[in-house]
Symmetry: C2
Subunit: 339 residues, 2 copies
């Protein structure tokens, strides 16, 4: 029954029909707009409140505006979109559900922590290749203040951040996937398993996620038969410096060696030294905004031909953490290529 | 490009290849095990802690045991399962991610509040029909105590519950979907939009969700051309008495009239008068356990032939509610039929 060309292995499927990323929108916060990628964003908010009265409402507004903008840039209307997929870090994915409630589009809410952007593109691409949709609008986002409040300490406390801590990216990224059009194509999806490295420190998400990133990258190369140099860029989501170093160590143990083509969106979006962002950027928005802003333009301008994007997610729940539990993690890899 | 037989309308797709529900598992809490459906559950926990030290850990254990049991009953092994889909009400879907972290299966986390079970079957069926998977393990669950603590009041306060309040079902339901085998088939998927009825009361989820249920039911009948009597049972997820009465009113306004074939899982799982559950059962587990336990057996024993299951979800986030916001809702309809 199953088309064996589609399924390459336990984790990986080929996307056989063309699934184009026909547009993207990258909305960033003020701090992100002062970083190295500032020229690539579609919109930079003036302040962290984005004109709203709460961080949560500001986060929702980023979603609304990013999804709206990706849709406008695609030339499509609400009626053309068959499914909308989104998720975020706010409890019950509040950023997405409140931000997108006025879009009259069938909605599939997803949750993969900061891997959400990868999961959205994965499911969206399979729905198009499977013949269920022509156009899918999907994305993810996060907000530094609401994430700190929810997962760590109230910002008003001024708690000192350890060197392993990452800085949640404020913003949202959205893409329109389509069966017709032009642009980079989603060609291959490797879906990750939940991996628990036994890390308990909510200020060291990089270490918690490095194992999940290694697992999915290793599966991707084994199941596709590709080598690391197949891609111009292999970009994890938000491991930061600490997580990236661990990932390279774990990959070396599996004899997967990269030259200079592996990076992490959390190391691209901020200048860690100048911007005091410690280990790097993180959050659902980290890979969503970095891809939608920077890498998408690198692809469409033919500066790169092939990217393996691997958004990484730490599946932390604070109640369960406070009960002494570790932080399970997950990562999803998406191959995106220009023809 | 798109197969027009698959897409029937803006919300609805046909599942063309056979997608069988080859097994289910219904795990219930003690109170649920004293209700009208007690003889249909696979396992009833002795107490609300399920042998664990916290409600959250108990909730995770329900997931682990339900998914394990559905898998065993299907005769499949972990290696046979291509994707696992799950979600729940705990912040960051902690019940699923902690409960299922030892399953070495590619995982797609989803969030649709109490509509999650419908969303899981929807995406799982499309992945099989689309040729991406042969077997998918999916489900949802919830826990009364962790939900009350998180969304309403600490149980220790003994807060009085208003008549509109529902009682979150403790338990988890899981199903194995497969391209081969026997059992009821998933034949049609109608995916809901986010609908906000302007309700602000966290103790009246039925009113918040009735509009979303009406919207997806109305779309289902319009787009399929079916009439309400096509189904032996049309079962919403957890509207309770208050929500069901509103739904019938809204449906009547659209000239969709049911005889006696419409019900709500929240009215089936508890005896509201004897069990003091006010408006009825609710939570992700409500439709998951009622379907996996009761309706699945009604189908396989040929007592009913066709069911339209419509898990309903209130997308509440307590921070945003406390900021004065309303409660957006969603519902997803899944048609399940015996040959």
């Amino acid at each position: 029954m199953i088309n064996m060309q589609k399924r390459l292995g336990k984790h990986t499927v080929n996307i056989e029909k063309p699934v184009y990323i026909i547009s993207t929108a990258a909305l960033a916060g003020k701090k992100e707009g002062e970083g190295p990628l500032k020229d690539y964003f579609d919109y930079i908010a003036d302040d962290i409140m984005f004109g709203e009265k709460s961080w949560e409402k500001a986060e929702s507004k980023f979603f609304k505006k990013a999804f709206d903008m990706a849709l406008k840039k695609s030339g499509k209307t609400y009626n053309d979109i068959d499914y909308m997929l989104s998720g975020d870090l706010l409890n019950q994915c509040g950023g997405s559900t409140f931000g997108l409630r006025d879009f009259k589009i069938p909605f599939l809410g997803i949750y993969g922590a900061c891997s959400t952007f990868g999961e959205a593109i994965s499911i969206g691409s399979m729905l198009i290749d499977g013949g269920f949709a022509q156009n899918v609008l999907c994305g993810a986002g996060s907000h530094f203040c609401s994430a700190e409040k929810q997962f760590r300490f109230p910002l008003e406390l001024g708690t000192q951040r350890p060197p392993t801590a990452t800085w949640t990216v404020t913003g949202a990224g959205a893409v329109v996937l389509s069966s017709k059009g032009k642009g980079p194509k989603v060609t291959c999806i490797t879906t990750g398993k939940i991996i628990d490295m036994g890390i308990k420190d909510a200020a060291n998400m990089g270490a918690a996620m490095a194992g999940a990133a290694c697992d999915v990258i290793s599966a991707h190369f084994k199941e596709t038969g590709r080598k690391p140099d197949y891609y111009d860029v292999v970009a994890t989501g938000d491991l930061g410096e600490v997580g990236k170093a661990l990932l390279k160590k774990y990959l070396a143990e599996e004899n997967i060696i990269f030259k200079n083509n592996i990076t992490d969106c959390g190391l691209e979006i901020f200048d860690n030294e100048k911007q005091d962002t410690h280990s790097g950027g993180s959050g659902c928005a980290c890979s969503a905004v970095t891809f939608s802003g920077y890498y998408y333009k690198q692809l469409t301008q033919n500066k790169i031909k092939r990217i393996l994007l691997i958004p990484t997610g730490a599946l932390i729940n604070t109640d369960i953490s406070q009960q002494g539990e570790t932080i399970p993690s997950i990562a999803h890899a998406v191959a995106i290529e220009m023809e």
